[in-house]
Assembly symmetry: D2
Homo-oligomer: 472 residues x 4
């Protein structure tokens, strides 16, 4: 048995990247750097396609960016006169045919050859797919990108930009996409802006699209602005163009600030690190407790722990060592060995010995990992463990591209806070309030569907969820 | 630089295989054995898909059958209740996206999930593709199978068998295909029967389709009969069904007997080994010469050399050793080292020393290899070298699935026999006559387009050939 | 070009591990867990050998523990009745024959088959090697372990423990070794205790030796004590035995506390994390500066930054994001791209914007990385950057197993602190004093040869250093 | 389960190769070509070392020559001024530590760094090893080469040539070795010349040593002569030197002519192909039978079958197709599938249908394969099968480097010819007589120990055979 000693965290499904350069540029290399910066958004597969206006090369495979793109393979897509490129990293999913679902998806259409990569989900994808199947379409993957491409190809009379806008109107959900032809780069974000997408520009004029600003910085570009909810942008020799296809109340995913996004950037105008510190401060105000030390679960709890310590005046300390090699899969030959995964990753330092500890983490999904961490601290001599969480309880699944586990596995959907506390063995347990979270993030509206069950962009038909299972 | 020390031979593009079993059977393992027996028809990629009526698994990749299907990967397609399977081996082609073009191609359609593998070419594929693109279809590969699948999917109102028959009518060329749904296996051959396809049955009742009989024997099946030109056969719980879609004058490819097919079988009722011996006998009658020894170019010249020796009374001997490891790629660091490829593969024995040698080979394409072999024999002390070829001069390209090299590279399309003789340095050179070849093979009509330029199933529009180049 | 985007840090050369179990135990699996916990001590190669008293299996190769030991390979050393095992991880070195130098080294001797793994260096290895070569010995590696094994084998009349003690007396330097026969586990540490080695025991009675306590915890063992300087311990059916071979003033390597050792343990009685916090506090007292925020270079500067913040009252913040995937090699196609390595690994957060930053790191070797980090902070809007280092300037090379770079590359051996400050572009720069460091660590004596040039266990003959170069 | 669908044949253990060039030469590339030509002598591992007088590089690993030496790895040993090289291919053996036993073995000694590769066995290796162990030597492998190197190193007062001669005198057995220092190439053959070694020279003056002439031709060298039994040759700036260390009655291994050696060369003055034809002629005279066709078991039976057909006047035909991909390992999931190995490799053609077949093979070891081949022919319609073998019955194991299977597995050591005939199901069975074989080969004396049990160079002590088992 092989398992991934992963945290019990919500998982983002993807990161996207794209570039347009009016003059020839080393786009394969730059896309490689951009994808490397987005690696935290997806570790299962990576891919890119590159065009020089004539040739159109694609490489993709299962693995990390540095595994998929060894020297030989990167060379194979390094066109000397490259002008357009897109790239993708994908989060680990289960099921067969993993390899064939890697992105970008490339296809020949009546608008020439196209490449598409997306982050997120179309909630009515199956409905649209059924309709198109009955019209004679083929679906070679179970990938939502293929639905989008079929919708674009169906509009024979429209040009690529118009056809893309038409396809956006037909699909609902939370998504951010990059799309390229031999000569154009397009990017678009769902009407609520659930999934992020930012625009950057390099000193040499080249344009960049990416899921997060870190990927802009990685290629030497500066952040210009976020793509707006419902906006379609495209780049060609004349520069940046924009079309508002369909804008609704902005509700970007709150988990980007809680957990997903790298702390070295801002999305929709709100700095990630600062918002995490504010969440910790808010949590300290909402849920104070007497203790000796504030300890983060590294690395994602660090920002909130700093905030909690700052607001409460209780010293911050580094009470859990994180093994930097623990992200790599290792062999666990017995079922009991699964228990080892947390232990191999996190190990308490002397900072918790004989102390009352406030442990700060960003979320609790199933609670299994939390219980083990509390246990580790007690074994290391912590006299009290007060668990503080910088997100509200997750009670509902996400249909917009986040893998939160099925609803029945979400501990907070079936247990009260007190029951969870007992389960994980903490002395006290408290979550930030939903209102508190919104204040800490500030800025735009927020999607909090996983806390509230209110889905701004709707949900799939139940019927479709079943079909999905059948079709695998 | 890496090169394949291959012979200068025409190359078949593929081998196909399929099975239907009314009761559960170990189809992945059997398909593996069948593909292994067909390995000579394609070494670049291998793949199979298997269904148990519910699940539908596919695995394919670049590499030999034994490389693609290691234990782990074969296990991943071994469904306990498998009832339908198809498989494919592909010949080495050039170009990018090789991996994505591997077969079988699988897709979801309004007829459920389908898998298709083919051998051969549709000469009007680009024309049909253009038409369908303009109707909104996507093409994710440059693979002819995808055109066929789009044609099948387009017929929303027909069932799978009817839709396949309709698709056959729309396409021209030389092809043999295997197609499967979750519950049916289909096989079909072009109206002229250019590419081969045979039907077999195992003792346990399971049905088998394969490019050659050797694959039937490999899975313990006996040969029932050839699929007829223009026939569509299918297998389900009720057994074998047949429909004649469109039958024309049978013209199976003569190169199956000359070179491609394994010598341990028969196609369209004509034994391969015996026909090769007859070609040699015919050649001895048509083109006798005084000499001391008849030497084959191993392995493909052996049958004809035996026939030549038998008819002429000149002793057969083993004058060229063939290194069995030479088929594997090896590194050639300098351009001059390319010259080594023949030398590393073939090496003269003492049987040619001081002797007048009749060297028998099956074909000459570019002539470069032939020149080197003649040279090797002379260096080893052969006093005369008389080159005899068991096929007529190849003067035209094949459009039905054989890679013969572009016309301008075909030495016989631009040189007389005497010029070729001078080029390769033989004392005499002679090819079998086209009439002699037909007599030696006997049996059905034959496609000899590469000798005569008469293409029974037509040729692609010139325009399409250009487009093909553009679209890569 | 492929490079490792590593920090400009001193590098430990190895981690060692060993187990003895009187009753059969799953030692391969436990050794795998132990090595995984020691992965930070060496990433180039990993290996282990295991015996059940009869069979003696070894597996080793280049790669991380999880790469070398995939399921198949781990299974190949999982003897059902295993009783003795040792393991090793090695830091990345240069030179040819890397694969053959992987440890443990195994050999047949007049004391039966032996396996040895070591951390550290014998400074008179070449001298001893020369002597043994002239007596007819073979050396198949450039590995110091082979010298030790030859010394042991030479003592034909002594048993394994006595011969090992004799070999220890013949060699000088800083080292910690684990050695096994089919039935015994031995461990020993140089007379000054320069390199660490700890003893642990599991609940089931099995004994463990490891470079650091984290590896004991990983296999469910508790820390019993450190092996003493100059002590030889061994384990057999009767339990733990000890012999003091040659004890001198203890001078354990100060860099274990500064940087190498994981923060979740203690060596020679001194807690790693606490000593780092004290170094930061000491630094704040010795080298105060007015500023807005204390920022660690993650992860190694965290402990000292916490101490500095605590002592100075200036807020601690997370000002540098560390990409967790940056440890993996990636392709850098141009020389200029080497510059990217720091940028791809570290990225400033908003915590430094508009602030006067105290940046805390553990050491400066060449200074190149430090310059880039300072630059990153300034670009992100830091108004001042005050660099504080929790080790004294490194002016001398290490001969006891640490790769610090040649002396001429050590920036502090050729530049004053002010010159280094100018070079790295900081507003102020200060190092902890040597006396301050000793106070912060407290406990035992310390080896500070790299700060002072005083080598407690001597240095190699200059002549030998040259020979070393010649012999590669 | 993975198995090698190998023939039931004796297996050679190795091929050796070496070059000396007074002027700089591309020795890594030439050694690669030489080893490629010797691939039939060993498929498990390959390796080479190269020196330019200063550097001394080695690369070796499990795999075929083309697998071990991909472009990157070959480049790593391509020294621009290379002057000496040796190489080795090894036959598949069983046991652990396979990787560490790959050759050439390299070691530092008092005569500088040395590389050694051997073919064959020292029958008193364990005896010598025991003696040296008690004197304090280490043995890191179970490889005979290490014994030879220890013997050479022990002679501290002698130069390399003298020490090698001394070592030759101490060892008994059948062997051929190549040995290199930074500036010299040495080659030597046991006193009886059991294992082959030939000398060649290129037009540019470079000297070559190889197990067979084919490797000379592969690097553009011509055959100068065989190394004589008991001769030690060496090459340096002054050219070829020779010393007769200890010559006894020459008894080269008869199986080189029967089966091992490539048919495109001569050993000890006797042409391989011609001798095989003569074996077939002799067999036809000794053991005539009435039949319709003579069919070889390809490829090794071809020469003898040609001879049998020639002498008997019965037509030669190609009655068994050999799958050229069958040498590669493939997966066999069930025990019953082992039976498939012959079937996947050999397949009857129509040449045997309705005919009385004389089947010619070179040897029968266990008889299992022979039984299956006979069965295949009968199923294909052969009316009679007369089995003729061009070697006498193998009744004794080889101790000089050939893996013949343990004595109890040799069918001829426990069964009469008639019993074997019944076992394999042939109508008649006959072996060539020992006298007939000697006449057919002619030329030198021959080692026929496996037919007669008379071992010219002695056998190992029984006691040592047991120790060998214990020591693994």
């Amino acid at each position: 048995m092989i398992f991934d000693p992963a945290t019990d965290k919500p998982q983002d499904e993807c990161g996207v990247f794209g570039m347009y350069s009016a003059s020839p540029n080393d786009l394969a290399w730059l896309t490689y750097l951009g994808l490397f910066a987005l690696q935290h958004r997806g570790q299962e597969a990576a891919g890119m396609c590159v065009s020089d206006g004539d040739k159109f090369h694609v490489e993709k495979d299962l693995g990390l960016v540095t595994q998929v793109f060894d020297e030989r393979r990167l060379d194979s897509v390094r066109l000397p006169n490259a002008r357009v490129s897109i790239g993708h990293v994908r989060y680990s999913t289960t099921g067969s045919n993993l390899r064939f679902n890697a992105q970008p998806l490339t296809t020949r259409t009546n608008k020439g050859i196209l490449g598409l990569a997306h982050n997120g989900n179309f909630v009515n994808a199956l409905e649209v797919r059924s309709e198109m199947l009955s019209q004679g379409a083929l679906f070679q993957t179970t990938n939502d990108s293929e639905v989008m491409l079929n919708l674009i190809a169906r509009e024979s009379d429209l040009d690529l930009v118009e056809a893309t806008a038409a396809a956006m109107k037909r699909l609902r959900g939370g998504y951010a996409c990059v799309l390229m032809s031999r000569t154009q780069l397009l990017g678009f974000r769902d009407p609520h802006g659930v999934r992020p997408l930012v625009i950057g520009q390099r000193g040499d004029g080249a344009w960049v699209l990416a899921s997060e600003p870190c990927a802009l910085y990685a290629v030497g570009a500066r952040l210009i602005r976020d793509v707006l909810p419902g906006e379609l942008v495209w780049f060609d020799r004349e520069g940046l163009h924009s079309l508002t296809v369909e804008a609704k109340t902005p509700t970007p995913c709150s988990f980007e600030w809680i957990y997903f996004a790298r702390s070295d950037g801002a999305l929709d105008g709100v700095d990630i690190h600062e918002s995490r510190v504010r969440m910790g401060e808010q949590l300290a105000r909402e849920r104070p407790v007497e203790a000796d030390v504030v300890v983060p679960v590294p690395d994602s709890g660090i920002g909130a722990a700093i905030g909690y310590a700052r607001e409460s005046g209780i010293p911050f300390d580094y009470g859990l060592y994180k093994n930097p090699y623990a992200g790599r899969t290792f062999i666990a030959p017995t079922q009991e060995a699964r228990e080892l995964k947390v232990k191999m990753k996190l190990s308490p330092t002397s900072a918790v010995r004989g102390r009352r500890v406030i442990l700060v983490d960003d979320s609790i999904v199933r609670g299994t990992t939390s219980r083990q961490i509390v246990n580790l601290l007690r074994e290391a001599g912590a006299t009290e463990v007060h668990f503080r969480v910088s997100s509200p309880p997750i009670t509902h699944p996400c249909f917009y591209g986040i893998d939160t586990a099925a609803r029945k596995e979400l501990v907070a959907s079936t247990h009260s806070v007190e029951e969870i506390r007992a389960l994980i063995g903490a002395d006290t347990l408290a979550f930030i309030s939903e209102r508190g979270l919104r204040e800490a993030i500030g800025g735009p509206g927020l999607c909090g569907a996983c806390f509230t069950g209110e889905y701004p962009a709707g949900t799939p038909l139940l019927n479709d969820v079943d079909k999905l299972a059948l079709e695998v």
